[in-house]
């Protein structure tokens, strides 16, 4: 009997089970204690619990609102949605500009021109070694002090205005004409994609290349402009009324500073990812391309970059996620995204910290999971075949 027990004690599986049971009991005890204290604390402070507060009237105005209907009489749930949309909009804007700047700087770092190469290095080393929150605050305070007050707005053709409150743009008046212009824009893009595909196929089959840039200009740029005049769509122009501009769309200065800082900061990481991607391509590839008679630009575009991007894209996608998470720092300058509206204003009004912060985290978790999913799909697709 005793010997049997002893052998149980030294049995790895038994040990593993015992250890796990202990862990679970330990954690369960802590969770129970925490929950118990929490209920007591909540009861004492007189804060209600549950998600009923989502249907209450929000009671506060929001500066940045792009296309959802929202007013102070809307519910907290609607404020939550406005927050999510604003987070996504600033993230997408930031991702777009960070990618463009990052690509340019990444290629510039490998330029044969000394000045360009050094400038790209200085750019990267400067901006990636300064905390992003500091950069956001700096650009915000600089924009506020450099841009003119509303009275003396910078005026471009009486339709676009820039001042220390933000950028004011004309807006389409939504109606039949607007939808017709939008439809022609979509048709233009679709037709162009079709033509582009056919020309690629022709190039693959016969080796004859067609220049599709005129098609692009005609279908994607010219067509909507023509449609705009033909259908006579109306624009609503911003105009100075009293102390502020009325009408049109406005992008607040907070939005600008945040998007600007995020783009500049994240671009340094994207540039580094692209540089290391290009570095990872074997030198023989470039030489082989040259031996086949490709020009330098063609070799870069057709041989080096496709292979470089396979290495560079996973870290770049991670940076997109980081940028989205960093957009939460907006709360320091008051751009109305998720954390500012929800974990800031709504939390202060209703005081239900657990529910509010849990919902906020849930949104970011969903975005993170979505992005890891994209990353996994990409990695599967890009796996070198036959490995």
């Amino acid at each position: 009997m005793f010997i049997k027990l002893k052998s149980l004690l030294y049995n790895n599986e038994v040990r593993a089970i015992a250890f796990q049971v202990l862990t679970v009991v330990f954690i369960a005890y802590f969770v129970y204690q925490a929950f118990d204290n929490m209920m007591l604390n909540i009861e004492q402070s007189g804060i209600r619990s549950g998600f009923g507060f989502l249907n209450d009237e929000a009671g506060f105005a929001v500066n940045d609102n792009f296309f959802l209907t929202y007013s102070p009489t809307s519910t907290n749930l609607q404020a939550f949605y406005v927050g999510i949309v604003n987070t996504l909009i600033v993230a997408i804007t930031g991702i777009f500009f960070a990618s463009v700047i990052g690509l340019v700087i990444g290629i510039a770092r490998l330029s044969s021109n000394y000045l360009i190469r050094k400038m790209a290095t200085v750019y990267i080393e400067t901006f990636r070694n300064i905390p992003i929150l500091l950069q956001i605050l700096f650009w915000y305070s600089t924009a506020l002090s450099v841009l003119p007050p509303t009275r003396n707005s910078m005026n471009f053709l009486d339709s676009v205005f820039l001042n220390s409150r933000g950028l004011f743009l004309p807006k389409f008046i939504v109606g039949t004409e607007f939808y017709l212009v939008l439809a022609s824009f979509i048709i233009g893009i679709a037709t162009y994609v079709f033509i582009k595909k056919r020309s690629t196929k022709k190039h693959d089959d016969t080796g004859i290349a067609t220049n599709t840039i005129p098609h692009f200009l005609g279908l994607v740029v010219l067509l909507p402009i023509v449609a705009y005049f033909v259908f006579g769509a109306q624009l609503e122009y911003p105009a100075l009324k009293g102390f502020n501009f009325q009408g049109g769309t406005d992008l607040s200065i907070e939005f600008f500073s945040l998007a600007f800082a995020l783009s500049i900061y994240t671009a340094t990481y994207i540039a580094e990812a692209i540089r290391s991607g290009i570095d990872s391509v074997d030198k023989g590839q470039k030489e082989a391309a040259a031996a086949l008679g490709l020009k330098q630009g063609q070799a870069m575009r057709l041989v080096v970059l496709p292979q470089a991007l396979r290495v560079a894209i996973p870290p770049i996608i991670n940076q997109y996620l980081n940028l989205t998470k960093n957009s939460s720092l907006a709360t320091a300058i008051g751009y109305s995204e998720l954390v500012t509206i929800f974990s800031g204003t709504v939390l202060n009004v209703v005081g239900q910290a657990i529910e509010v912060i849990a919902l906020t985290m849930l949104v970011y978790l969903t975005i993170s999971l979505f992005i890891s999913l994209v990353l996994n799909i990409f990695n599967k697709k890009m796996e070198i075949k036959g490995k």
């Binding site: 593993a16 250890f19 796990q20 862990t23 679970v24 954690i27 204690q33 925490a34 204290n37 929490m38 007591l40 604390n41 909540i42 004492q44 330029s111 044969s112 021109n113 000394y114 000045l115 360009i116 400038m119 080393e125 400067t126 070694n129 300064i130 905390p131 992003i132 929150l133 500091l134 950069q135 605050l137 700096f138 305070s141 600089t142 002090s145 998470k325 960093n326 939460s328 720092l329 709360t331 320091a332 954390v339 974990s343 939390l347 910290a353 657990i354 912060i357 906020t360 985290m361 970011y364 978790l365 993170s368 999971l369």
Partner: protein
């Protein structure tokens, strides 16, 4: 026998001398290269003069100037001079500043002593001992007690607070990170599940939400009336956050260990604890060192976020100093100064981590 004296060597042609040759190769090798050079020069012309004008040529270096006499065309460096102590020490009482200085001086002394006994067989003991004793000493120096006057954490601030938060974050998250990394690699289902959920959850949300959680929700979990220091809450949040990232870094190191090492340890009859502490971890940690430094750099940058939950790190001092009526509106000077200090620290650390990377990568190539 005819003697042929050596002729004097000719100077290289003008076009081949170093400078001109260099210019030709690096700036003017082709038409497009010339164009790029011109663009670069134009960009420099656009960017550099305003920066230099503001920081130097139009700036006021008179350190006795006040806000009004300073002028608004350029920077007013008297602002930094006047608030320098606040940027470094926060609101720590003047007569107790020697305690912070001692704390930092101790680090320097310890590192110097460490490198002096580099070859000694007791070096490892010294390092472990220092890691155990120093935090305690630093705590009593900063906070007080043992005969020293107690200075509340609400008085801590500036660069000191930044360094304290970063240091506590890295030191506390290290053992926890190792545990979670091992947990994630474990064959025990439940342990693995808990580790994965914790790591992925923390890495999936922004630090600011974790800080909010630590500062607002955490006190609710403890019994009523228990006073919870604001700084302590921030430290808990930062540590949890850093733990998840360190765990992932160390997991990378664990995965890089060849399977043969595990098998050899098993074959030698080592049990799990011996296998992990004597065979696996020393190798895994060594591989992870460059990434651990990288993760510390990220943590150092992230410490600025504590200003959002109302602590006065160096960045928050800018706001505090410029809300004082005698220095209204000097935010730019403050931000530039803090950016400069942070940049110097972060840039040196990133250089150091690059150096480590090179050192470790050459070791593994052989």
């Amino acid at each position: 026998m005819a003697v042929y004296p050596l002729k004097e060597t000719k100077k290289a042609p003008q076009s081949q001398t170093k400078t001109i040759q260099w210019l030709k190769e690096n700036l003017l090798s082709s038409t497009s290269n010339v164009l790029l050079t011109l663009i670069a020069l134009y960009l420099i012309y656009l960017i550099l003069p305003p920066i230099l004008n503001w920081t130097i040529f139009d700036a006021n270096f008179d350190l006795t100037a006040d806000n009004d006499s300073c002028g608004r065309e350029g920077a007013c460096w008297a602002f930094i001079y006047d608030n320098f102590k606040m940027f470094i020490y926060g609101f720590y009482p003047q007569e107790e500043l020697w305690r912070i200085d001692t704390m930092f001086a101790l680090i320097v002394v310890m590192i110097m002593f460490g490198s002096w006994i580099k070859k000694s067989q007791y070096r490892m003991h010294y390092i472990i001992g220092a890691f155990l004793v120093y935090p305690v000493a630093a705590f009593f120096l900063l906070h007080g007690g043992l005969g020293l006057e107690v200075v509340g954490t609400d008085k801590w601030g500036g660069l000191t607070l930044t360094i304290v938060v970063a240091a506590v974050g890295i030191v506390a998250s290290f053992p926890l990170g190792i545990l979670f990394a091992l947990g994630r690699q474990s064959k025990m289902r439940i342990v693995k599940f808990i580790s994965v959920v914790f790591i992925e959850f923390v890495r999936g949300v922004p630090l600011i939400t974790i800080l909010f959680m630590a500062s607002v929700i955490l006190p609710l979990f403890f019994s009523v009336g228990m006073d919870f220091d604001k700084l302590l809450r921030a430290l808990i949040g930062i540590t949890l956050f850093q733990t998840a990232y360190i765990a992932e870094v160390i997991r990378g190191g664990l995965q890089a260990i060849p399977k043969g090492q595990y098998e050899a340890a098993d074959a030698s009859g080592l049990n799990f604890v011996q296998k992990t502490t004597l065979i696996i971890l020393p190798q895994a940690l060594k591989i992870s060192i460059p990434n651990i430094v990288g993760s510390f750099i990220a943590l150092f940058k992230d410490t600025t976020l504590i200003l959002i939950i109302g602590l006065y790190d160096m960045l928050a001092i800018v706001g505090a100093a410029t809300s004082n009526s005698s220095w209204l509106g000097r935010n730019s000077e403050g931000y530039v100064f803090v950016a400069f200090v942070m940049w110097v620290i972060l840039y040196s650390m990133s250089r150091y981590s690059k150096k480590l990377e090179v050192r470790f990568s050459t070791e593994h190539k052989n």
